[in-house]
């Protein structure tokens, strides 16, 4: 130990031992603190977990508890880390070694003196270093700084076991879960949907008009949305109303445009004796007759004998030429008028004073009038365009016939014949109009079914079903033979013109709504059910009893239809009937009621409250509804 190298090695050994002892001291201190903090933390965790398991607090409370425990853990970690890492006296490890080995600070002093510069070291210090080296050869830091089992160890272990146990336990608690999002109840049954789809397919097959096909597509989309429950009741009714509005608007516009075009054609053709018959037919919208008349004329022209005179032919040519140009000329006239009105409007607007920002009252009125005229012309133009489009082919054929008439009779006849065919096609187009009406009826049916589905649920449906049976004098469902328009309970799938209620084929109740074409006043059936509605569309003829000319209004009015949005909240027709019926079919005898009402009517006739011209009708009515014995 006397050589410098031995001395250095010995000192390094001392230092190493001292550092190790110091590390153990730090670790020991950290463990002591950890075992002081752990029971508290574990207790808090056990309490918190128990609270969460038993009370099932809200997520916010649970989160708060967890955060508090984590915060406590963080504080404990910092506290423990501070114990391990805080600055300690330089010789703390060496002193512990001295104490344990009873060296009376020999190691500490040796390390202290060895760190001094050699010049400052006294002989006594050198001796102290040597003494420290001699006594410090068998230092044992492990024994000098032993790790004792903390007293809290068992408590900590117990708490950990408790915590693990509580974490495994599941305390049953009644927890009110929010109700699952309710799937919207189906608006239509599968059977009803299937029925509507089939009918729609039939319509689609016969559809020729692209607008109608588009409407059918939208209708079909609506049905699919209903089937997939993507739409609610309100949405369905809104879309139905929208679809109906569009169909009605197209119908009105088409009808008006065709009426106008045919009238214009009729006016021109009337000027020639050869086409007068066709003109009359066109005037009365008898397109088949007009076609027939034109074909007859074509045949007449193609025949060699009894040909019309040249003057007649010239007249015919002029009539045909004018007729062919009618629509275009009308369109051009409208455009001219429109341009004039537009120019007038611009001049009026120029009068507007820049500073005042308004016209004088006179000009303002003129401007408003101009605006109204422009709007009317826009409507007229749209109508004329539509008419021109509808009658384009006919116009071409007529123009060609006029051009060939004086040159080659045969060709002219051929073109006249083709004109007749064009009229036939227009008649076919009228058929398309009928198909649109049919589609409208389907929409109405769908609305009716939806209304019934929405009111009172299954019980109401069952009541309606029983009511319908009773109304038909049937006692049990499923026995009648399906007869269209008879208002009987049918088997199999429903036919057009039927309103089907209920589920499953063969057991549905069918109510004839009396809407099939041509059966406007159909009195149906053998039971009590009757056709629910009159025929649609306006009449085409006149009452034969009318005296004088038919009413001719001079004012140019434009029909405007205003329809409210059907939200489905109203009462279905079947419900109205059922409501009336449920009050009783037979409260008083019909005979008594008839007598009572007829008496009142007679009294009013006597008092001259009914005009003489109508008294006949009143009496005739009561005669018709008199009770049969």
């Amino acid at each position: 130990m006397n050589s410098p190298s031995d001395r250095e090695r010995g000192l390094r050994q001392l230092k190493r031992a001292a550092r190790r002892a110091e590390r153990r001291l730090r670790l020991s201190a950290a463990l002591t603190r950890a075992f002081t903090a752990l029971p508290l933390l574990l207790l808090a965790s056990v309490a918190g977990l128990t609270f969460i398991k038993v009370v099932r607090p809200s997520a916010a409370v649970e989160r708060g508890l967890t955060t508090a425990i984590i915060a406590g853990l963080a504080v404990a970690v910092v506290w423990v880390a501070w114990a391990a890492l805080r600055r300690r006296p330089h010789l703390v490890g060496a002193e512990r070694l001295d104490v344990y080995h009873r060296l009376h600070d020999r190691v500490s002093n040796a390390l202290v003196f060895s760190e001094l510069p050699a010049a400052e070291r006294t002989p006594m210090m050198e001796l102290a270093i040597q003494d420290g080296l001699e006594h410090g050869q068998k230092l044992d830091p492990r024994r000098a700084v032993p790790f004792h089992l903390p007293r809290e160890l068992w408590l900590v272990a117990g708490l950990i076991v408790a915590l693990a146990g509580i974490a495994q336990l599941e305390v049953r608690t009644v927890r009110k879960l929010p109700p699952p999002p309710a799937l919207a109840a189906p608006l239509l049954t599968e059977d009803d949907l299937e029925l509507f789809r089939e009918r729609l397919e039939e319509l689609a097959r016969t559809s020729q008009d692209p607008e109608q096909s588009a409407a059918i597509g939208r209708y079909n989309a609506l049905l699919e949305d209903i089937a997939a429950r993507r739409v609610d009741r309100e949405e369905v009714f809104r879309r139905l109303a929208e679809l109906e509005r569009e169909l009605n608007r197209d119908l009105d516009a088409d009808r008006e445009a065709m009426d106008e075009g045919l009238k214009s054609l009729a006016r021109e053709l009337e000027k020639s004796s050869l086409t007068r018959k066709a003109a009359e037919a066109l005037q009365e919208k008898r397109l088949e007759d007009a076609e027939k008349a034109l074909k007859e004329l074509a045949e007449k022209l193609s025949r060699q004998k009894n040909k019309p005179s040249r003057a007649e032919l010239e007249k015919l040519r002029q009539a045909l030429e004018k007729a062919s140009k009618g629509n275009r000329e009308r369109l051009a006239a409208i455009d001219r008028q429109r341009q004039e009105l537009q120019a007038e409007r611009e001049s009026l607007l120029k009068k507007k004073k820049p500073d005042a920002g308004a016209l004088d009252p006179k000009d303002q009125r003129a401007l408003e009038q101009n605006q109204r005229k422009l709007e009317k012309l826009d409507r007229d133009r749209a109508r004329a365009e539509r008419s021109s489009k509808q009658m384009d082919e006919l116009d071409k054929q007529l123009a060609e016939a006029a051009r060939k008439l004086m040159q080659e009779m045969g060709e002219a006849a051929k073109h006249l014949e083709q004109s007749g065919e064009s009229l036939n096609r227009m008649a076919q187009k009228d058929l398309t109009t009928e198909q649109k009406k049919e589609l409208l009826r389907r929409l109405e049916e769908l609305r009716e079914v939806l209304r019934q589905q929405g009111k009172g649920g299954k019980e109401q449906l069952e009541r309606l079903r029983r009511f319908s049976q009773r109304a038909r004098g049937q006692s049990r469902p499923g026995q009648g033979q399906g007869q269209d328009g008879k208002g009987q309970q049918g088997q199999g799938k429903g036919q057009p013109g039927e309103l089907r209620i209920g589920r499953g084929s063969g057991q549905g109740v069918e109510i004839d709504m009396g809407q099939s074409p041509g059966s406007s006043q159909g009195q149906s059936g053998q039971g009590d059910s009757q056709g629910a509605s009159a025929g649609q569309g306006r009449g085409l003829g006149h009452d034969p009893n009318i005296q004088g000319d038919p009413t001719q209004l001079k004012g140019e009015t434009h029909d405007v239809s205003a329809a409210g949005v059907d939200s489905g909240q109203g009462t279905a027709s079947a419900e109205v009937i059922y409501g009336a019926a449920s009050r009783g079919f037979k409260v008083d005898g019909y005979k008594d009621i008839f007598v009572r009402y007829e008496t009142v009517a007679e009294q009013n006739i006597e008092k001259d409250e009914i005009p003489p011209g109508y008294r006949f009708y009143v009496r005739r009515y009561f005669q018709l509804i008199r009770p049969r014995e």
Binding site: V99, F113, D131
Partner: protein, 334 residues
């Protein structure tokens, strides 16, 4: 021979002399090893010691023995209430010279010795007690206009009886502070008593011889001062000292409650110097915290002034210091 080897030789000699001293004293004094070591510590520190114990424990015997084995001049002063300072220091007398003339001559008092026994020091009046102050602190005596240096080594060993309070004058704090150690002479145990009886009641005569001379003692005192005390040891002693002051943050609860005034810095000096001597006694070359702990009680007990509550509770300064030693651990204060 290198300095280290020479120092080692000096220390070895020191140890040998110390062993001889112990052995020689042991021939006369039965037991009281700690008291003997304490007295020797004070001797080597060049300071003074206050021995406290009931009469008959051998305090005076110990001092006389020590004086004999050290080969130093010894004087004994029996303090009584009528003892005057001049009785201690000495007095100027009118003397006739050889020519028949008269001259004033200073007659040296008992304080002029290497080892002075101030027996029952608390029986003298404070005036007389304070006559020792200069001698103890400065190792010199001033009489009139003349100052007389006391020869080194100079050691005052005072004794006092803790039981008899009647007619006594407790030593003032300033004088107490000048004592390096205050040693309590305990009552001997059974074995020791038996040996005392054996030695004092038989025909056995002990011939003591001086085992060290004055020069050797001075060498030993010089060697003691060369013993190093590392910083952590000094800091530990400082921590102990600070803890004796009730107003200090390191003060223990007992100190705060029962101590009026803590130790003066002389207490710290005494602890560190005694630690150095303790290291040499232990055959070591540097003072340790253990040495400080070993010296703390003797160095601090007479320097703590108990409060009224402490007096009333019967708390002793030894208990307070023991508590301090438990609470103030080595290394914590460094």
């Amino acid at each position: 021979m290198s300095d280290t080897e020479q120092t080692r030789e000096e220390i070895a000699k020191f140890s040998r002399k110390l062993a001889e001293l112990r052995e020689e004293i042991g021939k006369m004094i039965v037991g009281h090893r700690d008291v003997v070591d304490g007295v020797l510590t004070c001797l080597l520190a060049g300071s003074h010691v206050l021995l406290e114990g009931v009469p008959g424990l051998g305090k005076t015997m110990l001092v006389r023995t020590l004086a004999q084995v050290l080969g130093l001049d010894f004087s004994r002063i029996q303090f009584t209430p009528d003892l005057m300072p001049a009785d201690i220091i000495g007095t100027v007398v009118l003397d006739e010279n050889a020519q028949g003339g008269h001259v004033f001559e200073f007659r040296r008092g008992p304080v002029f010795a290497h080892v002075v026994l101030a027996d029952e020091i608390n029986r003298a009046t404070p005036k007389t007690q304070s006559a020792l102050l200069e001698a103890m602190q400065e190792h010199r005596v001033t009489v009139g206009r003349n100052t007389y240096q006391l020869e080194e080594p100079y050691l005052v060993l005072a004794t006092q009886n803790p039981l008899e309070m009647e007619g006594t004058y407790p030593l003032p704090e300033a004088q107490l502070d000048r004592f390096f150690f205050k040693l309590n002479v305990p009552f001997p145990g059974r074995d020791e008593l038996a040996r005392i009886v054996e030695r004092t009641t038989g025909g056995h005569q002990v011939e003591l011889k001086a085992v060290v001379n004055r020069e050797e003692i001075l060498e030993m005192q010089a060697l003691v001062r060369r013993v190093p005390a590392a910083e952590h040891v000094v800091h530990y002693a400082i921590s102990l000292l600070e803890a004796t002051h009730p107003k200090h943050k390191a003060a223990t609860d007992l100190v705060k409650r029962f101590v009026r005034t803590g130790s003066s810095p002389r207490g710290l000096q005494a602890m560190v110097l005694a630690a150095k001597i303790g290291a040499l006694f232990g055959g070591r070359f540097a003072a340790s915290a253990d040495d400080v702990r070993g010296a703390a009680v003797s160095a601090l007990r007479h320097r703590l002034l108990l409060s009224f509550e402490g007096e009333a509770e019967g708390i002793t300064s030894d208990e307070i210091i023991a508590d301090l030693l438990k609470k103030v651990e080595p290394g914590k204060g460094a």
